[in-house]
C-alpha cells in the first residue's frame, strides 16, 4: 500500500544544508495502524509531510498504491491528497466561525457531488467519528478540544481515504480527551482504515500495532506488536 524506498530529504537554508531524512525505507500494508515516534528534530514530521504528499523527497521513491508520488505535479498531488489521504493535525486547523458540517464538507468542494450528497457524506463521517448530531450546526470555535479533533477526524474521513495521517493528534489535548481520541483511531482501524500516527509520546504510540522509531533521520527500531 505504502512503500518508501531510500527516502532522502534535505532543507537548504542559506548556505547550511540540513539533512532531515537520510535514507528511510519501509512498507505499510492496508489495514495497519502504525505509529512513527521520535524526539523533536528526528525527521518524523518531514517523513509525515512526504507520506502526506505535502512535500516531495529530495531523492528516493514514495509509492502509494503502486504509483510513484514523488514525480507528481502540483495538481496531481492536490487530487491525491483529496482522494487518498485524510489529515488530522495537532492544531485541528478548522475553519474559524464556520459550522461543523461545513468544515467537514470542505474537502468535497469543487467535486461533482450535489450539495445534498455532500451533506449526507459529511453527516455520515461525523457520526462515524462519534460526533453528536445536535452539534452539527455549531460553530467550530464553540467546541471543546476533543470535539474539534473529532470534527477534524470526520473531515479526514469524508472522502473515504486510503490512509489517515495524524500529526500529533493529541498534542493539544488533556490526557482524558487524548485517550478518547486514540480510542476513536483504534476503532477506525478495527473497521479496516489504514492509520499512520506521528507522535513523540510512547504512551500514544502504543495504541498502534506497529511502532517505527526514528532518530536523526534514520529508522532506529521497527516493532510489531502481537494482537491479542
Amino acid at each position: 500500500m505504502i512503500e518508501c524506498k531510500n527516502l532522502y530529504k534535505a532543507y537548504v537554508n542559506g548556505d547550511v544544508e540540513t539533512q532531515a531524512v537520510c535514507g528511510i525505507s519501509f512498507k505499510i500494508e492496508k489495514g495497519e495502524f502504525v505509529s512513527i515516534i521520535g524526539p523533536s528534530g528526528s525527521g518524523k514530521s518531514t517523513l509525515m509531510h512526504i507520506l502526506g504528499a505535502l512535500d516531495s523527497p529530495t531523492s528516493g521513491q514514495y509509492l502509494l498504491e503502486g504509483k510513484d508520488v514523488s514525480k507528481f505535479s502540483d495538481n496531481e498531488l492536490s487530487d491525491l491528497r483529496r482522494e487518498k489521504i485524510g489529515f488530522v493535525f495537532q492544531s485541528f486547523n478548522l475553519l474559524p466561525r464556520t459550522t461543523v458540517l461545513r468544515n467537514v464538507m470542505l474537502p468535497l468542494l469543487y467535486s461533482d457531488l450535489s450539495y445534498s450528497q455532500r451533506e449526507k457524506k459529511a453527516k455520515n463521517a461525523l457520526e462515524y467519528a462519534g460526533m453528536d448530531k445536535d452539534k452539527f450546526l455549531n460553530l467550530s470555535n464553540q467546541l471543546s478540544g476533543g470535539q474539534m479533533q473529532r470534527v477534524a477526524i470526520a473531515r479526514a474521513l469524508v472522502n473515504e481515504p486510503a490512509i489517515i495521517l495524524a500529526d500529533e493528534p493529541t498534542g493539544n489535548l488533556d490526557t482524558k480527551t487524548s485517550r478518547i481520541v486514540m480510542e476513536t483511531f483504534k476503532e477506525l482501524n478495527s473497521k479496516g482504515h489504514t492509520i499512520v500516527l506521528i507522535t513523540h509520546e510512547m504512551e500514544v504510540a502504543n495504541f498502534a500495532n506497529r511502532v517505527i522509531s526514528i532518530r536523526d533521520g534514520l529508522i532506529e527500531k521497527d516493532e510489531r506488536k502481537k494482537h491479542i
Binding site: L54, D55, N75, S78, D79, L80, N93, Y110, R155
Partner: protein, 405 residues
Amino acid sequence: MIKDLLKETIWSLSTNKARSGLTILGIVIGIASVITMVAIGQGVQGSIEKNIESIGSNLIVIMPGAQRVGGISQGGGSNQTLTLEDSDAIKTQVQTIKAVAPEATRRYQVTARGANTNTQVVGTVPDYMTVRNITMNIGSFFSDQQVKSSAKVAILGPTTRDDLFGANADPTGQSIRIKNVDFQVIGVTDAKGGSGFSNPDDTIFVPLGSAQHFLAGNDFLSDISVAAADQNSMTSVQQQISDLLLARHKITDPTQADFNILNQNDIIATATTITNTFTILLSSIAGISLLVGGIGIMNMMLTSVTERTREIGLRKAVGIRKLHINLQFLAEAVMLTFLGGLIGIALGWLASLAVTRFVPTLTTQISVSSIFLAFGVSAAVGIIFGFYPARRAANLNPIEALRYE
C-alpha cells in the same frame, strides 16, 4: 464549479462580516470622496462661468478714469467725465454694436411699507435689457418715453422684491421710496443667479433721467455698457470707442485717458485662468484622495489575505487545487470592490446632491469620468492586492502556509 465558487465566496465574505465591512468601507470612502470632490469642483467652475455670463454677453464697459487731485489718484471711477452725449455718440458713430446703455448707478437706502433695504439703484435706458440680458418676470421694463420724461417708475430685481415685499409677492402698482422720492413699481426681473456686491438680482432699475435728476443731482454717468454685435468685433469696437472718446474729451495721449474700457473677453480670460488653476487644484486633491483610498484598500486586502494564509494552507492540504483557491480569492476581491464601488458611487452621488441642496449657490455636477476613474483605480487596487497575496500563499508549500503565524 462556478456555483461552488460563488457560494464559497459569499459564505466567506459573510462569515467575516467585520473584515468584509471594513474593506468595503475603505473602498466606499475612496470612491465617494473622489466623486464628491470632482462634483463640487465642477459645480464651482460652472457657477463661476454662469456668474460671468449673467453680466451680459459680448459686453464692453466704459468707466470714468481716476481723478487726479494734484497728482494724487482718487481711484478708478472717481472722475465724472462720462456724459449722456458720450453714450449717444458711441451709439451713432461706432460700427458693429448691438446696443448701448448709459448707467448712473449708486447705492441708496430704499423703503417700502415699513420694510427697508440698502441696494444699488441703476438709472438706465430700455436698451439695458439687451446689453445685460435682462428678462422680465412680472410687468414690463420702462419705455424710452418714460426715460425722456424722467418718470418716477422702478423695476425691482427679485432679491430686492423679496426684501421689500416678501418672497414671490407681486409689487406692481406699489410705491417705494428712494432718497425721499416715491417711485411706482411697474415690474420685476427674472432671477439671473450670481452673487456679490453688484448682484443683478439685488438691484432697482429706474429711468436714467430720474436717477440723475431726483437722486444723484448731476448729469454724469457711472458707466456705459456696450454690447458688441458678436465676439469677433469686440476688439474693433473697443478701439473705436477709445478713439471716439479720446477725440470727444480732447485728449491726444492715450495713456492720459480719463476713462477705462473693460472688455468682457478680459474678464472671461481671467476667469478661465482661475478655473484652470482650480481644476489643477481639484485634480490634485482628487488624486491624493484616490492615492490615500487606494493605500487603504491595499492595506485591508493585504492584511485580510495574509491573515488567511493558514486557511489557504488547510485548503491546499485537504486537496483543493491551486486554481480553485486563486479563483476564490479573485472572486472575493472582485465582489468586495464591486460592492464597495456601487455603494461608493451611490454615496458620492448623494453627497453631491446634499451639497447642492444645502449650498444653494453651488450646483454640483457629477462627472462620469470621475466615476470611472475612482471605480477603476479602487477596483484595480482591490483586485491586485486581494489576489496577489492569495496567489503567493497558494503557491506556498501547504505545510509552510499552515505554520504561518
